[in-house]
């Protein structure tokens, strides 16, 4: 088994060398491979059986049927090849999703020829492909869904574009490596503790008290500076410490820190923070994130959410 996997690895490193990372692949002779499918081998066996039986029974009709079958086998090499030849596939940037969800990788097929391309399959390997048709002289957008199992960058090693059309006797395929990966956010899991201090819930546990030390200093600052809205924006960009005072008027604001969850298992902790970030965004609060190596100042909005989730997704 080891030898097999070693050979496989060697083979794919050779394949990868031949198919460099690219946004668009143009399928042609040098990157199209072809082999019989298992039904192709079955047909070969049936063909041999027919020829042996025809020889034995001196049956010339049997020979005719056998040779038509042989000719169909030969022709299907070309038909199957022609079904993908000249097709251009462009990989587009996939949307980020959470772990456990399906990530959909969009591909654009460009068929500039006159011929209808039927049942073109695309997928991670030849065993998991999804099919679509590409009309003549047209572009078709097609998504393939890949289940996201791990946070971080989902970068499939290679995609395969394949076809067994029309007869399923031969399979053509081509490997290519798209330049885009998908960023997979951690799975949000609700934390049993309250990570961010709520407006009314500050008296629980030691954690909340310890975590609220910063807020006390904030409060001090706030009490020293009564000017609210205008001052907040300016100060927030500079140091991000003035917001508490503001929050009491506009909404809540909190900094989600790694320390607050560091007693949990790492992945679980990341999930808790993810959940907290999402909840904060949904509630319309201002929020910031402090991770061991990354610190994101308080903010709001889709862009900010993506920044926070990316940081969580990529945390080492």
């Amino acid at each position: 088994m080891k030898i097999v996997s070693a050979i496989e690895q060697k083979f794919f490193s050779w394949v990868d060398k031949r198919s460099p990372e690219q946004q668009e692949v143009h399928l042609r002779q040098k990157n199209i491979y072809i082999l019989p499918t298992r039904y192709g081998w079955l047909m070969l066996m049936i063909l041999i059986l027919i020829l042996v039986a025809s020889t034995n029974y001196q049956n010339n009709m049997g020979f005719m049927a056998g040779f038509i079958l042989l000719a169909i086998g030969m022709l299907s090499v070309f038909y199957t090849y022609r079904n993908v030849r000249g097709l251009k596939i462009r990989a587009l940037k996939p949307q980020s999703v959470y772990v456990g969800q399906e990530c959909s990788f969009p591909f654009e097929f460009n068929n500039s020829s006159e011929s209808y391309r039927s049942s073109i399959g695309i997928g991670l390997n030849k065993k998991q492909v999804e099919y679509c048709d590409v009309d003549s002289r047209s572009k078709t957008l097609f998504h393939i869904k890949i289940k996201a199992n791990k946070r971080g960058l989902l970068e499939p090693k290679r995609f395969v574009c394949t076809s067994i059309f029309p007869f399923g006797i031969f399979q053509v395929w081509s490997w290519f490596k798209p330049s885009y990966g998908a960023l997979i956010y951690p799975k949000p899991i609700e934390c049993p503790q309250i990570l961010a201090p709520q407006s009314h819930g500050q008296e629980e546990g030691a954690f909340a008290q310890r975590g609220s030390e910063d807020f006390h200093s904030l409060r001090d600052y706030q009490s020293g500076d009564p000017i609210k809205q205008v001052m907040w924006k300016a100060f927030a960009r500079e140091r991000g410490l003035l917001t508490k005072e503001f929050e009491e008027l506009v909404g809540e604001q909190h900094l989600l820190t790694w320390e607050s969850v560091s007693q949990y298992d790492k992945e679980l902790a990341i999930s808790y923070l993810t959940d907290a970030v999402i909840k904060a965004e949904q509630a319309g609060n201002l929020y910031g994130l402090e991770l061991p190596k990354v610190r994101i100042e308080k903010g709001q909005g889709a862009e900010h959410l993506h920044q926070c989730l990316s940081a969580l997704a990529l945390m080492e």
Partner: protein
């Protein structure tokens, strides 16, 4: 290969599989035992009902039914390995498979097995209609495969039939070349199981009256193609059997033995001909009189100058033969041959025997006596009819002295009886007489209704002389009304009462021409395609100068064919790509020029976006670039075909861009 995305539930997949199975099984329904045919039809209907959700069949029931079918086949045939049993079993399992088919794998299996089942039908029938059927069935299987391998199923492919039709048309020439080049063996690889098929033809026992059954039949017994000159039709006596033994009722072959090659009689060759003998499930081989040299291996010349094959003729037999005029000058009739051919049963047909002895005494010379009896038939009131009076006992007495009506069997049998009674060695010969000339294929058709019986008389100093007593009947006494009525061809026209005679005659001639043309096609099919064998293969090889190592040359030729066909198709597909790329190449060149002029070319960008960007970023290039790009768009994204001149003018504009 992922096949989960290609389930059998796609529209039309199950119906097309049912249709394919029905087409593939249909010829077998005529040959398999009725219960097997009925079961397969029932299973197909059930599958359709399941598809329509009219019934639900649990899988355990399918399993039980399949086991019952297996048991049924075994009980019926007492084996499951023979050819008949094998075909029956595989057709049943084939339909059961569809009943329980769930996924792509089952569908693909069914379709590929279809190719094999299709071939089993040809074991029963190789006629020209089966050739047409082969194409239809192949086409249906291909359509099934295309539907199975397309995500849309049957509905999606606009050209389901077109693709399979084109494939089949392209496959035919390759098939023909391979067909003629593929090395053939002269014998079977393993012993063929005996066939129980019945054939039609002349039997080895002649009871006067028995042959009448054949007269109604237009079925072809064999076809003959003469090389060079053909004898006149009334001289075409196709010898089958010589019957020497008479027990009072039936004529039988009696004792006969094959001749060694060195004891063949000598003779002068007369006509050269080639025969396509339809299977009659008997061992005799017909030939134009006289027969000497056996036409094929395993065919032997017997001492009554007839041919026998060691096996029954269960498949169409093709052979070339030479007719001879046997020279009897060195041949003596052996004592036991004389005895055999003068033997008559005791106390039967006494009256005819007495008549013969009496009459012989008048002439007392064998040759004279032959002539005398023939003129007796001609002058006396002897009639030819297919519906003679039937006698229980003393058949010959009844015919010869009493009713005086009958047909060839009666005349031949009475004539030989009379000769023997007079002490002249004589025997009955059965076979066919005459034939119908087919001008469209330049050959003769000999049908079952041409079956005939004549006689041979041994005359000292001359040898065996053929005497046809039936031919001696005076033409005015031949009742041919029945002869013309019996053929099915004529039956066809009896319904058209309204036609005037000339019309019906015209129609008759027309119909006759059509059927002769059709038969000429069949003859060609049988001879050149279905009859193609090792002999024919080696024959044409020697004509092109290959007399040894034939198989090696055939191997080379096969390989060359496959490689050439492959290269041909490859080039064809590549050339399609080239010619289409002319526009693309001109456009690329135009893009490179733009790039030099400072326009950033992005490969993923369509022409419209590119033009838009040029307008914004390089307005000075816009007017010229617009002409090229607009034309490119109209050529590339127009649905209808672009004329050649339009394409040329685009290429010109694009190339002149600077």
């Amino acid at each position: 290969m992922n096949t989960q995305s290609l389930p059998l539930t796609r529209p039309g997949i199950i119906p097309i599989l049912i249709i394919v199975q029905a087409i593939v099984l249909s010829p077998l329904w005529f040959h398999l035992p009725a219960w097997i045919s009925a079961s397969t039809i029932a299973l197909l209907l059930t599958r359709f009902a399941v598809y329509k959700k009219a019934v639900h069949i649990p899988s355990w029931l399918i399993l039980i039914l399949a086991i019952c079918a297996l048991g049924g086949v075994f009980l019926y045939f007492r084996t499951i390995s023979g050819r008949e049993a094998g075909v029956g079993l595989i057709s049943l399992m084939y339909t059961f498979k569809l009943l329980e088919a769930k996924n792509y794998r089952d569908g693909a299996l069914i379709l590929f097995i279809s190719f094999f089942i299709l071939v089993t039908a040809f074991l029963y029938d190789e006629s020209i209609l089966m050739g047409v059927y082969l194409l239809v069935a192949m086409m249906s299987i291909l359509m099934g495969l295309i539907a199975l391998n397309s995500i849309q199923g049957v509905a999606g492919i606009r050209n389901l039939g077109k693709i399979s039709g084109i494939t089949l048309l392209q496959a035919l020439p390759i098939m023909l070349i391979l067909f003629f080049l593929f090395p053939r063996l002269s014998g079977p690889l393993w012993a063929m199981p005996s066939q129980r098929e019945s054939g039609m033809g002349i039997d080895d026992e002649m009871i006067p009256g028995s042959m009448a059954g054949l007269y109604g039949f237009d079925e072809i017994a064999f076809r003959v193609d003469f090389e060079g000159e053909a004898p006149p039709i009334n001289q075409m006596y196709w010898r089958g059997l010589a019957l020497s033994e008479f027990d009072g009722i039936a004529w039988k072959i009696g004792v006969e033995s094959p001749l060694r090659r060195d004891s063949y009689p000598k003779g002068s060759p007369t006509y050269q001909y080639r025969v396509q003998l339809e299977p009659h499930n008997r061992r005799w081989i017909f030939g134009l009189e006289d027969l000497i040299e056996p036409p094929k291996e395993k065919v032997y010349l017997f001492n009554n100058y007839t041919w026998r094959q060691s096996q029954r003729v269960t498949q169409r037999l093709l052979y070339s033969a030479q007719a001879y005029q046997i020279d009897y000058s060195d041949i003596e009739l052996s004592q036991w041959q004389r005895q055999l051919n003068t033997q008559l049963p005791e106390d039967s047909n006494e009256q005819t025997r007495e008549w013969a002895i009496e009459e012989y005494q008048k002439v007392n010379e064998p040759e004279e006596f032959v002539r005398y009896v023939l003129s007796h038939i001609r002058q006396q009131n002897y009639h030819y009819t297919l519906l003679p009076e039937v006698f229980e006992q003393n058949v010959i007495d009844g015919f010869w002295l009493d009713s005086r009506e009958g047909y060839c069997e009666h005349y031949a049998s009475a004539f030989v009886f009379i000769m023997r009674a007079a002490g002249i060695p004589a025997r009955v010969v059965t076979g066919y007489q005459g034939g119908e000339y087919n001008p469209y294929g330049d050959y003769y058709i000999i049908r079952q209704k041409d079956a005939h019986a004549w006689t041979e008389v041994w005359l000292e100093g001359e040898g065996w002389r053929r005497v046809d007593p039936t031919a001696a009947i005076h033409p005015s006494r031949v009742d041919d009304s029945l002869l013309n009525q019996t053929s099915s061809r004529d039956d066809w026209f009896t319904d058209f009462d309204s036609l005037t005679t000339t019309d019906s005659e015209l129609a008759r001639t027309f119909w006759r021409q059509i059927s002769l043309r059709w038969d000429a096609m069949q003859s060609f099919w049988n001879e050149s395609l279905m009859g193609y064998d090792k002999d024919m293969q080696f024959n044409w090889l020697s004509k092109v100068g290959i007399n040894n190592n034939q198989w090696r040359y055939l191997g080379y030729a096969l390989l060359a064919t496959i490689l050439l066909a492959g290269a041909g198709f490859g080039l064809w597909i590549l050339s399609q790509a080239k010619s289409k790329d002319k526009i693309e190449r001109a456009y690329r060149r135009f893009q490179r020029v733009l790039e030099k002029q400072g326009v950033d070319i992005r490969l993923y960008e369509g022409p419209k976006d590119l033009l838009h960007r040029i307008k914004q970023q390089h307005p000075e290039l816009y007017p010229k670039a617009e002409r090229v790009i607009k034309r490119y768009i109209s050529i590339r994204y127009q649905k209808s075909r672009v004329s050649e001149s339009n394409q040329q003018s685009f290429i010109k504009t694009a190339k002149s861009y600077h």
